[in-house]
């Protein structure tokens, strides 16, 4: 039995210790926001937060998050006054998604980046967001990251 917290709720699962967190979320906890894209930590579609840091959940064994706090796209806005996190608001404002499949991963990676670095440069963004978007929404993503940074800094 492995226990951890997901989006503010306690989770207890009886699975193999080496089962990746991504598959525990999707198969055992019916949390499908984190997406499967490659399974080898190469695309970022499965990005979630573990104790506030962005991790690629396809490549983290569930045993490794025992006792920790996991946040997925579904829980990102939790605790904020509105139903959307600043990053999500910026994403809507900049009309980022196309097919949308990669976006939960990008949004989670961005939220973690902005927590650690409130005013990232383009170079910081390039380094922190090495996810893949096959629809090529990169230009809109870059604009939205800067916009989210200013929203978080109290801009309107």
């Amino acid at each position: 039995m492995i226990s951890f917290t997901v989006n503010g709720q306690p989770a207890r699962v009886e699975v193999e210790a080496d089962k990746p967190l991504l598959w525990v979320l999707r198969e055992d906890l019916a949390i499908v926001g984190p997406k499967f894209g490659c399974g080898v930590a190469a695309c970022g579609a499965c990005t979630v937060h573990v104790d506030g840091e962005a991790v690629r959940s396809c490549s983290v064994a569930v045993a490794g998050v025992a006792g920790k706090t996991v946040t997925t796209i579904e829980g990102l806005a939790r605790g904020s006054a509105t139903t959307l996190h600043a990053v999500q608001k910026a994403w809507i404002e900049q009309q980022v998604p196309q097919c949308g499949y990669c976006q939960p991963g990008f949004i989670m990676a961005t939220a973690a980046l902005l927590k650690a670095n409130a005013k990232p440069t383009d170079k910081d963004i390039d380094e922190a967001l090495s996810n893949i978007c096959r629809c090529g929404t990169y230009g809109a993503i870059r604009r939205a990251v800067h916009r989210a940074a200013s929203l978080l800094a109290g801009g309107s």
Partner: protein, 750 residues
């Protein structure tokens, strides 16, 4: 009997072969559809097959096309909302049931092996027959950048008819004559402005009225929504994680299936042995078309079992020894002496006294699609009255085809199959294929009463795709050298590739192949060459090829635009000036080229090691030109900026057009810089994004898109035309920066 005829028609149309067969079948039909068609619920009223309204004033528009990121829901809903004068914030979309009125006619016309500029009896007949075919047989399909082109008139007509019905309903309710009423901002008002009724108040009146013939459509100057960057309807759900893709379908009793496909193309599993007993999380192993599937409560566990705990007896495909080097040799022989499946000439061949040839050979590799969402399909086979029904949940580009294949696989009537199309995590042409539905229904037959979600790993996706064809082309020009400066006399291209339009009907519905090249691959360049000749040779081979974003344009644009650039240099002319001279009679092309030239700063000096390259391609009814600016240092290539000009006729949503251009450019750039599928021992060598990479933020160029309005009233596509020009634009820029001509894709400096 009927099926045979139908097959003959499909074969004739899709492959562009025998065209006369289906004519008796044709009958004009109304595309408006009956009011009850669009699943009308209790608190709703249908206005026609495309539009219903709800008690709370919501307007629901039927969008029978797959949303794969191209903004089709938003664009099509805007067409209907425009003519009915709905407010954008009251508009929603929904998937209609499958019906003939929701057909896509344009997609069939686009698949024909003719150039848009060609006419003549044969071509007209093919277009006409394709229209009939699309209509009569009801093909629901999304692809070929056809959705808006197809919906432009029918969707607006549906909106206009809806507005008329609302006006008459309001008149009936209020006693105010129809002539004094208007629809404005999502409600019915008197012409002087006073509100008469909200849409939701008219539900009961509408019951008593019947739709009248369509009133005239608005003039473009009257548009309020068309042409505006309306916010996309699908975006809110895509930032909260609420959007349901195929992999997110969860049904009671759901089990998952992982698949291992036969290592060589066309291979199959003849049996298997499990090492030890089945682990927890895996219930069953079944042989499926093309491979084996492990089914159970955990996909992860099932996939692991396939990789580590099972021995499969494989039957090899027809070419188990195929490798890339051998294939190129085969193509080179065909380039030399292959018999063309299609030859086309334009102009009369001049014969000046002294000429010298100028020749260049270009290569493009196989490419995988790598949609972000790996391939999947969920199927449920249930017992009903002694028979079976099949339900499918699938991110797909053609529910018509999926239903047909599901019915065949389960041996039930098509009426007993229901197909639900989810959001698509990318399509790019891959999701028109039927391999997943075959495998999912096969698994579901082995698990009656349980929905089975078949999901492929990324490795299976890359190794078992329907690839963009590998292609080889040789361009040859003759230059008149009798004068002081050499002059262009003629150009000719020989081109070798497999044909997706030939393979597709064969593998999906079992038609014989016809040896015809794919239509987009044989479109003529727009240039007014003194004499032009094309010889297209169709290669045979075991590698399955399919429709990859922009299809044949994706490689032929590279061949054609690289060669035109080379010619310009050989004739000592500026690359843009040379093209302009050859486009003198094509004002739309010229305007696009001039726009991109101006906006990119063409001709302005750049630091050493940097260069600009231009390319132009008309495809899917739109004209796109791009200038790429690159920097080369230590043999590393960086694409810094791309300027893009597009003329796609009337623009429904400029924000979506821009986004699609950017998307097409990045997709094409991933291929130009990294994309290469190679073969060894009959199998694909690449496996995941680790060795089949894509452009990421750090190497994504700044992209600047300019919409060109040439006043054309013909709607062009936008999903694909952004892709073809980028590879040649970058190759031409590399030449400008380094003097090095790269004639093979992907572009490698060393």
């Amino acid at each position: 009997m009927k099926l045979t005829r139908r097959k003959a028609i499909i074969g004739g149309i899709i492959a562009g072969g025998v065209l006369g067969v289906g004519f008796w079948f044709a009958r004009e039909r109304d595309r408006l559809g009956h009011r009850t068609l669009f699943r009308v619920g209790p608190e709703e009223a249908g206005l026609n097959g495309w539009i219903k309204i709800k008690r709370d004033d919501t307007v629901v528009v039927a969008v029978p096309r797959a949303e794969m990121g191209q903004g089709v829901q938003t664009a099509l809903a805007a067409l209907a909302a425009e003519e009915m004068d709905a407010r954008w914030d009251q508009v929603r979309v929904d998937d209609p049931p499958e019906h003939v009125v929701y057909r896509n006619v344009e997609i069939l016309i686009d698949g024909l092996p003719f150039s848009p500029e060609e006419s003549g009896a044969m071509v007209d007949m093919a277009h006409w027959a394709a229209g009939k075919f699309g209509g009569v047989l009801g093909v629901l399909a999304t692809g070929g950048s056809t959705s808006v082109r197809d919906a432009w008139i029918p969707m607006r007509t549906a909106g206009a008819v809806a507005r008329d019905l609302l006006l008459r309903a309001a008149s009936r309710k209020s006693g105010v004559p129809v002539g004094e009423l208007v629809v404005s901002d999502g409600e019915v008002r008197r012409k002087d402005g006073g509100r008469v009724a909200r849409f939701g108040e008219l539900l009961d009146q509408i019951e008593h009225l019947s739709a009248m013939p369509a009133p005239p459509l608005k003039k473009p100057s009257e548009f309020k929504l068309i042409g505006k960057p309306l916010p996309r309807l699908d975006i809110p759900a895509k930032v909260t994680g609420a959007a349901t893709f195929g992999v997110d379908v969860r049904r009671p009793g759901l089990v998952y299936a992982a698949v291992m496909n036969a290592p060589t193309f066309g291979g199959a599993a003849s049996g298997f042995t499990v090492k030890g007993s089945l682990p927890k999380g895996v219930e069953k192993i079944v042989v499926v078309p093309g491979g084996v599937a492990a089914i159970g409560s955990s996909w992860w566990r099932a996939n692991k079992l396939l990789a580590e705990g099972i021995d499969v007896q494989w039957q090899a495909g027809p070419e188990p020894k195929l490798d890339s080097a051998g294939l190129w040799r085969r193509y080179e022989a065909l380039l030399q002496d292959g018999k063309p499946a299609l030859t086309r000439t334009r102009g009369t061949e001049p014969k000046p006294a002294t000429t010298r040839p100028f020749e260049a050979t270009y290569r493009a590799p196989y490419l995988a699609h790598t949609t972000m969402e790996p391939m999947n399909c969920t199927a449920l086979v249930a017992e009903r009255d002694g028979g079976k029904t099949v339900e499918i949940w699938m991110p797909n580009q053609s529910p018509t085809l999926m239903r047909l294949i599901a019915a065949k696989t389960a041996d039930v009537a098509q009426a007993d199959v229901t197909v639900h199309t989810t959001f698509l995590g990318g399509g790019f042409g891959r999701r028109a294929e039927v391999d997943l539905v075959r495998q999912a229904v096969t698994c579901a037959l082995a698990m009656p009463g349980r929905p089975v979600q078949v999901l492929w790993s990324r490795e299976e996706d890359i190794r078992h795709d329907y690839y963009r064809p590998m292609a080889l082309a040789r361009w040859r020009a003759e230059l008149d050298t009798s004068g002081v400066a050499p002059k262009l006399v003629s150009v000719a291209k020989r081109q070798v590739a497999q044909s997706p339009t030939d393979q597709f009907p064969a593998r999906t519905i079992g038609l014989p192949t016809q040896g015809k090249p794919e239509g987009n691959a044989v479109e003529n360049p727009p240039y007014d060459f003194p004499y032009y000749r094309l010889d297209a040779i169709v290669a045979e081979g075991a590698v399955p090829v399919g429709f990859w974003r922009s299809v044949g344009h994706s490689h032929t644009a590279f061949f054609d635009e690289s060669f035109v650039d080379e010619l310009a240099h050989a004739l000592k002319q500026d690359a843009v000036a040379f093209r302009r001279a050859l486009l003198a009679g094509k004002p739309r092309h010229l305007k696009v080229l001039e726009t991109v030239m101006r906006e990119s700063g063409w001709g302005r000096p750049l630091p050493s090691g940097s260069g600009r390259g231009v390319a132009l391609r008309a495809s899917f009814g739109s004209i796109v030109a791009q200038v790429a600016e690159v920097a080369v240092a230590n043999n590393a290539l960086q694409v810094k900026r791309v300027t893009c000009a597009v003329d796609c006729g009337p623009v429904v949503n400029p924000a979506i057009v821009r986004a699609q251009m950017e998307s097409g450019i990045v997709y094409g750039l991933s291929a130009a810089l990294y994309g290469e599928i190679t073969l060894a021992d009959g199998a694909v060598e690449q496996s995941n994004f680790t060795d089949y990479d894509a452009v990421r933020l750090a190497d994504a160029p700044a992209i600047d898109v300019h919409l060109v309005d040439s006043g054309s009233a013909i709607v062009g596509g936008i999903g694909e035309p952004g892709t073809p020009p980028i590879a040649p634009a970058v190759a031409n820029a590399v030449f400008a920066a380094t003097g090095k001509r790269l004639r093979s894709l992907p572009l490698k400096l060393v």
